[in-house]
C-alpha cells in the first residue's frame, strides 16, 4: 500500500489520508509492529509561517486533546486561540481521504488580561482543553488559562431562514404599508459555517495558576485545580464553586508542596486524584467529607537513598496524572520516568519506565537552564496497553506495558521523509556513536514535546512540537 503524506499548511489543499485501521483494536504484537511504521501528517495552525525558525511565540501549542469519540482534535496555543480539527468522513468517491484531520473551527478563547490589583499580566495561554462527551449536534469543550475556565459550544450552521415578511433580503425592516402578501419563511441550505460561542465563563475562583481541569463522569460537574486548591464546579453555574481541596498552609512559610495536577476517576463520579510537587498522589472520595483535605489513599514511592541528590525532589515532582480508561490504574509522569500505579497498591508503582535516563547526569545543567521544570504530559492508548510521553529533541516515547518493548520516535519534518514511515531513534550515552544515533550532548533542549494525545479507540496520536502539530497514524501492513 502506498504510503501517504498529508500536509496542511496555511490554506493549501490537504492531500489524502491513509488508511485503514481495523474496527477492533489490533493485538499487542501487531500494535508494536504498527507503531514502528508511521505515516506522518503535518499540520500547522493557519497563522504560522512555513519555516519553523520564524514562528511567533503566540503560536506555540500549549495543549492538545481528542474528544471522546475521536472525531475532533482540539489544540490550544500561547496566544489564547483554540483550533479544532475534524476527521474527514469516509466517502466512496475519495476513499483515500478517510482519516485525515482538517481544520474545523478556530476561535480566540482567552484574551490577555491585566490584574490591576497586583499589576500583573494574566497570560492568555491555554493551559488545558477538555471535551465534554457529545450529547446533541453541538460539541462542547472547556478551555482554561491561568485564571478563567470557559465552556465553548461549537455548532454547525448549514441553513438559513429565507423569506421573512418583515425584513427584506438585506435584513432591513420593510415598510409595513408595502407588504401586500404573506409568505412562509423557508430554510435554505447555505455553506457550512462552524460557530464557536462561549456559553459559560467560570472566573474569579483561583488565586494561583490553574494547571488542570477534569470533567466528571456525571457530566454535570468538573474540577479546576491551581497550585494550592481544587475547586468543584457545576457546568451550569458560573458564580459559585466549591473548594474541595485546600493545601494552603495558614502560614505560608510552611509551604513546601504544591498541587501539580488533578483528575476525576473515569467511572466513579465521587473519586478524584491529585498529584504534588513532592511526588505523591492522593486519591480522595467526595462522599467522605465536603473538604477533601484528608485523602483516602496516598501513593508515594519511598526514595532510593542511593540516588539521592539535591535534585531528587525536583525530579520527583509529578507533572501529569492520568487515570487509565479502565479506571484501575493511574499513570504519573515525573521528570525522568513514567510510573503506573495500581489503585489498590499505595506503597509503590507497579511499573516504572525510564523516559530519558541519560539526562540523570545532566541535572545540574538542566537546572541551570530551567529545563528541569518542564512539565511533560503522558497519555494512555484506548486499551490501556501502551503509554506515551514526550522528551527533548522532538522525541517522544512509547512503552508497551505487555511486551515491555519501547520505542523512541521523532516528530520532525526534516528527519523523516514525507512518505516514509517513522524510524525509531536512539540516544547514545557516550562512547561510540553508531550511525543515526544521537548523542546526549547534541540533544536540542528547546525542542520539547510536552503535549500529546491519543485517539480514544484507534491508533492515532497527535503530538505538539512547539508550533507544529503532528498527527501520526499507524498503518496495518
Amino acid at each position: 500500500m502506498k504510503p501517504i503524506y498529508a500536509v496542511y499548511n496555511a490554506g493549501q489543499a490537504v492531500m489524502c489520508g491513509c488508511g485503514v485501521t481495523t474496527g477492533g483494536l489490533p493485538s499487542t504484537a501487531e500494535k508494536m509492529k504498527c507503531f514502528s511504521r508511521y505515516l506522518p501528517y503535518l499540520f500547522r495552525p493557519p497563522t504560522t509561517i512555513l519555516s519553523s525558525t520564524c514562528h511567533t511565540e503566540a503560536d506555540i501549542i500549549s495543549t492538545v486533546e481528542f474528544n471522546p469519540s475521536g472525531e475532533l482534535l482540539a489544540t490550544g496555543d500561547k496566544g489564547g486561540r483554540v483550533v479544532v480539527f475534524q476527521r474527514e468522513q469516509e466517502t466512496k468517491s475519495q476513499p483515500q481521504r478517510r482519516g485525515e484531520y482538517n481544520v474545523y473551527s478556530t476561535f480566540q478563547s482567552h484574551e490577555p488580561e491585566f490584574d490591576y490589583l497586583k499589576s500583573l499580566e494574566i497570560e492568555e495561554k491555554i493551559n488545558k482543553i477538555r471535551w465534554l462527551p457529545q450529547q446533541n449536534a453541538a460539541y462542547f469543550l472547556l478551555s482554561t488559562n491561568d485564571k478563567t475556565v470557559k465552556l465553548w459550544k461549537i455548532s454547525e450552521r448549514d441553513r438559513r431562514p429565507d423569506g421573512y415578511n418583515l425584513k427584506d433580503e438585506d435584513g432591513l425592516i420593510r415598510d409595513p404599508s408595502t407588504i401586500t402578501s404573506l409568505r412562509v419563511p423557508v430554510l435554505q441550505p447555505t455553506d457550512l459555517m462552524v460557530e464557536a460561542s462561549a456559553r459559560r465563563v467560570f472566573s474569579n475562583a483561583h488565586t494561583y495558576h490553574i494547571n488542570s481541569i477534569s470533567v466528571n463522569s456525571d457530566l454535570q460537574t468538573y474540577i479546576s485545580t491551581d497550585d494550592l486548591r481544587v475547586n468543584l464546579w457545576n457546568l451550569e453555574i458560573t458564580d459559585q464553586s466549591f473548594n474541595i481541596v485546600d493545601i494552603k498552609p495558614s502560614n505560608m512559610e510552611d509551604l513546601t508542596e504544591v498541587i501539580t495536577a488533578a483528575e476525576f476517576h473515569p467511572q466513579q463520579c465521587n473519586t478524584f486524584a491529585y498529584s504534588s510537587s513532592r511526588g505523591s498522589i492522593r486519591l480522595c472520595d467526595m462522599r467522605k467529607q465536603a473538604l477533601c483535605d484528608t485523602h483516602c489513599k496516598f501513593f508515594e514511592e519511598p526514595e532510593d537513598p542511593s540516588t539521592r541528590s539535591f535534585f531528587s525532589e525536583i525530579i520527583s515532582s509529578i507533572s501529569d496524572i492520568k487515570f487509565s480508561h479502565s479506571g484501575r490504574f493511574l499513570m504519573t509522569r515525573d521528570y525522568l520516568t513514567v510510573k503506573v500505579w495500581d489503585l489498590n497498591m499505595e506503597n509503590k508503582p507497579i511499573e516504572t519506565y525510564q523516559v530519558h535516563d541519560y539526562l540523570r547526569g545532566k541535572l545540574c545543567s538542566l537546572y541551570e537552564n530551567d529545563c528541569i521544570f518542564d512539565k511533560f504530559e503522558c497519555v494512555w492508548n484506548g486499551s490501556d496497553s501502551v503509554i506515551m510521553t514526550g522528551s527533548y529533541n522532538n522525541f517522544f516515547r512509547m512503552f508497551d506495558r505487555n511486551t515491555k518493548r519501547d520505542v523512541t520516535l521523532e516528530a520532525s519534518r526534516e528527519n523523516s521523509k514525507p512518505r516514509a514511515v517513522l524510524k525509531p531513534r536512539k540516544v547514545c550515552m557516550g562512547g561510540k556513536r553508531r550511525k543515526d544515533e544521537v548523542t546526549v550532548d547534541s540533544l536540542d533542549f528547546s525542542k520539547k514535546i510536552l503535549h500529546s494525545t491519543w485517539h480514544p479507540q484507534e491508533n492515532i496520536i497527535a503530538v505538539a512540537a512547539s508550533n507544529n502539530l503532528y498527527i501520526f497514524q499507524d498503518k496495518v501492513a
Partner: protein, 301 residues
Amino acid sequence: MFPKGTKRKFSDSGDEPPAGSEGVNQPSSAAVRMLSSYSLQRQSLLDMSLIKLQLCHMLVEPNLCRSVLIANTVRQIQEEMTQDGTWQIMTQALSAANAAAQCSADRLVATEVLCRQTEAAQGEATPRPLPTVGSDGSSAEELVVVEEEEEERVEEGVSTLSPQPPTSYLPSTFGMDPCWEEETDEDEDEDSEECASGSEEGDNDRLVEDSRTAEQVFGTFEIKNPAPSPDPALEELFSDVDASYYDLDTVLTGMQSAPKMGPYDLLESLSSHGPSPLSSSTSCRSDLNELDHIMEIIVGS
C-alpha cells in the same frame, strides 16, 4: 558562574575539611579535593538557586511550583551545610565582617541608604518597589541587619552571591545566618548560643529562623490586606501584596510613592538595626527621592 576578579571567600571555607564532621582521621588529599569540589558544587548550586528565586518576572506572576521547588532545594543545601559546619564558618566570617562595619544607626541611615542604592543599582535588571518594614517582628529586623551585611559582602568582593548585589538580599532572608540576630535585642541570648555551639537545638533554631524568613518568600502569594507587608524585596518574588506596592508606577520606577507602614515601624527598624532594608532601585533619581522620604519620616515623627 562567578564574576571575574572577585574573591571566592566563602567557597574557600569549603576547601578546608568541614569542622567536626570528619574529625576522625586526617583526610587524604584526594578526599579533601573531593570534599572541596563537592562544596564548590553545592555552593554554586546555592547561588544559582538564589538567583533563580530573585529573578522574578515583574509583568507576569511567577510560577509558584517552580519557586517552591527551588526554595526547597535551597533549604536542603542550607541544612546540609549547617550539619557539616560549613554554615557556621560562613556565618562567622560574615558576622565578623558585619561587626567591623556596624556603626550607630540613626544618623547614618541616610548615607547607608545612599550607599546601598548605588551598590544595588549596579546590574539590577528589574526595578523593585521600595520596601517597607512591617511590624511582624524579628524577621524583618533580621533582614535589616542582613542587608547591611550583604553590602559588606559585596564590598569585599565576595562572590558567593550573584553578580547582582541586590540579589544578595535573599540569602539573608532565609535566615541563613541566625548569628546575625545578635543585633536584635530579643534574640540575643538565643543567638549567642547558636553561634557558639553547633548544637542540635541551635540547628533547630536556625531552621526555625530559616522558616520564619521563608515566610517572607511565600507569604506574599496572597494579598495580605490589613497586615503591614513584609519586606517587599521578597514580596516581589511572589507578587501578591497590597495594592499600593504594585502600583504600575511603583513597578516601573522602582520606587514607592506612598509606603504603607506606620512611622513607628520604620523608626523601630531604623533605630535598632541601622539602615532600613531598601530596594535595589536602579535610578539615582529614586535614590534621592527615597532618601528624602525617609528623612521626612524620621523627622516627621
